[in-house]
């Protein structure tokens, strides 16, 4: 029993999802009470606390009726009981949103900002490039690699035609 109570406490703390992370002390949620309750999520489908805990008279009567046989309940009553227990249906809670557009927009914005910062750094901060990166030096490097016949089986030297002194077609 004790581990189960601890586990449910962990779930309650983490089961709020993106909203309702703080389940405050005054947990008597009315019908529209955001940010005071842990809503059910796909990964937390059966919270311990019902969504509405303050029930008016007819809702309490309905709760009493729920204690009897459920076949006596009409369809509208079953829906009302569901709405008392849960905030949203599965279809409602799993609805897609347009949040990804905001996310992608912010990602691209900050990437662009970083690009501007790096450009400024390239102009004002970076030292000059080493001499080995000039074209002449790179050509000398490549010539030396071909002289050494690096990777002659499948690699660089296998692509070079040593008779005609050009790359193989």
């Amino acid at each position: 029993m004790l581990p189960r109570a601890a586990w449910s406490l962990v779930l309650r703390k983490g089961g709020g999802g993106r909203r309702g992370m703080h389940s405050s002390e005054a947990r008597g949620g009315g019908k529209m009470s955001p940010y005071t309750n842990c809503y059910a999520q796909r990964y937390y489908p059966m919270p311990e606390e019902p969504f509405c805990t303050e029930l008016n008279a007819e809702e309490q009567a309905l709760k009493e009726k729920e204690k009897g046989s459920w076949t006596q309940l009409t369809h509208a009553e079953k829906v009302a009981l569901y709405r008392l227990q849960f905030n949203e249906t599965f279809a409602e809670m799993n609805r897609r949103s347009n949040e990804w557009k905001t996310v992608m927009g912010c990602v691209f914005f900050f990437i662009g900002f970083a690009a501007l910062v790096i450009w400024w750094q390239r102009v004002y901060v970076f030292p000059p490039k080493p001499i080995t990166l000039t074209d002449e030096r790179k050509a000398q490097q490549l010539q030396r690699m071909l002289d050494m016949k690096v990777n002659p089986v499948q690699g660089l030297a296998s692509r070079w035609d040593y008779e005609k002194k050009q790359w193989k077609k």
């Binding site: 002289d147 050494m148 016949k149 089986v153």
Partner: protein, 67 residues
Amino acid sequence: MAPEVLPKPRMRGLLARRLRNHMAVAFVLSLGVAALYKKAYADFYRNYDVMKDFEEMRKAGIFQSVK
């Protein structure tokens, strides 16, 4: 409820079955790739003359021990 009952799907051993199938496919593919690789090396070394290669490298001037 549907009138006819669907057969019960596989409940256990799913990862084991997946691993077994993937191992078999990977083994066969690796044999094929190894064959290609070995062919490339065999072709290279069939008519390979070490001394001629060495002379070419020596004339190119990359060695420090022989000129």
